[in-house]
Symmetry: C2
Subunit: 268 residues, 2 copies
Amino acid sequence: MQAFKNRLSQYAVMDDQIWALIDEFTTKTVTYRAGEDIVRVGEVAETLFIVNKGWAVRHRTLEDGRRQIVNFMLPGDIFDLQALACLEADHTVTSVTDVSILVIDTREFVQLLRTSGDISSSFWWAAVQEESILREQIVRLGRRSAKERIGHLLLELQRRMNGAMGTNHSQLPLPLTRVDLADALGLTPVHVSRTMSAMRHAGLIEETRGVILIDDRERLARLCHFNTDYLHLRRLDLSKFPMANDTSHAGAATNEKTNGKRAPTYRT
Amino acid sequence: MQAFKNRLSQYAVMDDQIWALIDEFTTKTVTYRAGEDIVRVGEVAETLFIVNKGWAVRHRTLEDGRRQIVNFMLPGDIFDLQALACLEADHTVTSVTDVSILVIDTREFVQLLRTSGDISSSFWWAAVQEESILREQIVRLGRRSAKERIGHLLLELQRRMNGAMGTNHSQLPLPLTRVDLADALGLTPVHVSRTMSAMRHAGLIEETRGVILIDDRERLARLCHFNTDYLHLRRLDLSKFPMANDTSHAGAATNEKTNGKRAPTYRT
DNA sequence: CGGAGGATTGAGAATCTTCAATAAACGTGG
DNA sequence: CCACGTTTATTGAAGATTCTCAATCCTCCG
C-alpha cells in the first residue's frame, strides 16, 4: 500500500481524507508466486490491480514462441485501467517475483473517481505516465543499440523503483534473468549477457547477486540518451486540471514556443 | 468529420441526439500542409485533436538525429487524450500529408463526456485501442523480422483505413516514404526498400504510384502473424460499461478460462 | 528539358543471432 | 553445512540480418 501512496503523492498533494477513501476500498489483497499469470490473454477484466510488492510483466507471445515483454509493473503501478472498458486482454500479465496485489472492483473505483477530483486527476496522470512509458519503450526498441537499450532500461527501472519506494538509491535490485531482459529489449539472452559484461568492464554498471549498482548515473545517462521527462515526475498542477474542479479557470499557462515553421490555416 | 463518426460507430450505437451534441462543439477546423508540426515536444496541450483528413505521425527524435515514429494517426483518430492532464508533450506530432484537423477545447470535451455515458464509453474505448496499438508496435519492433514488420504494419494500416472510411478495399494509399516506414519500423530506408522489393517479387504485395495492393491478405497475415484482436474492432457492449449508467448491473460476463497453473492466495 | 526528391542497387562492414559447450549460482534435501 | 541437481550466465565460433556508404536510376513537376 505504501508504494501506491508514494506513487500518488508524486502526482498530487493528497490529504488524510483522501487516503481514508482509498484505504476503504483497497481491502482485498491477492498474492501470486513467481511466474504465475495474473491476467491472461482473452480474459475480460472486471477488476483493477495495484502492485503492492514484487514485480510483474505485461507480455505477449507469438505463435512460434517468440516473446515480447511490453512493460514492467513495479510496486505502486496500477493496471489495467482499460478494464474500465471491459475488454478482453490482448496480452498476459505474469508475476516475475512473488507478488502481492491489491484488487479493486471496477465499479467501486469509478465511484471513487467521481467523489474526488484530486483522485481522478491522479489516476489520469498515472494513465498518461503509463502510455508515456510505452512510447519510450518503442523508441528504445526501434532506435537504440543493445548497449543503449540495456542502460536506458536500467535507468528507467531505477528511477521508477526509487519513486515507488520513496528512496534515491544508486543500487537497483533486479529480479530479472537475461531471458527476461532479452524479451523486454528485443535481443537474445546471449547478446544481453555479452553486452552487460562489456558494460561492466567499461565501469558503467556493477552487478552482485541480482543487484545492479550504477555508480555514475550521469555517465550512463549520457551514453544512452536517457532523459527522465517521459516519466512525468513533476508534481501535478491541479489548478490546470479540468476534471479537478468545474470552475472554469481561464486559459492556464499559455506557453508560446513559436520557434520554427508552423503555419496552421484556420478555416472556421 | 465522417471518418470520426465511422470510428465511433464501430464502438457503440450512436443516435442522432448524440451526433448533434458532438457536432455542436467540433466547429473549429485547422489545416496543416504536409510536414508541419501540430504538437511540439515540451508544449503543454490544452486542446484535443481529431484527424479529419490526411495522415499524421507521432514521433521522437534523439539528440543525434535518430528518429522513431511511435504511431500513425489516421482519419478519425483522436489525440491527445492526455491533454486532459495538461502535460507537456514528450513527443512531436507532425503531418505526413496535407491534413485537416478538428480542434476541441479540453473543458468543453470534459463537459460532453459527462452528459452522455455512451460518448464517454466510446472515448474510453478509443483510448484503449490506442494503447493497444502502441503495445502491438512494441511487439513488432522487438520480436519481428524486417519482412514481418513491414507486412504487419501494412495490414494494420489497411485495416485502420478501412475502418475510418467504412470501406473494405484491398488497396491502401500509402503516403509514406521509405524513410517514414524505416523510422516507424526501426530499420533503415535502404533495408525497407530491399525487403519490400523482395515481398513484391514473392507476390505478397504490389505497389503502384504510392498505392499498396494486397492481393492475398490471408497469406500475408499468416506470414507475419497478423492478428486483428488488438484493434478491438468488435462492437462495445455498453451494458458492461461502468461509466455508461450507474445502475449497478451485477457481475457481467464471468468467463472462467481456468486452464493451466494459477494459484492466487487470498489473504484478506 | 533539367532538377530535385525519392527509390533502388551493390559491396563491404557492423551488429546481433544461433548453436553448443562450459561455468557459475541457487535451492534442496541429507 | 555440504553435495547434488537444476537453473541461469558466460564464452567461442560461425552465420544471418541489417547497416553504411556511395552510386545510379526513377518519377514527378515546373
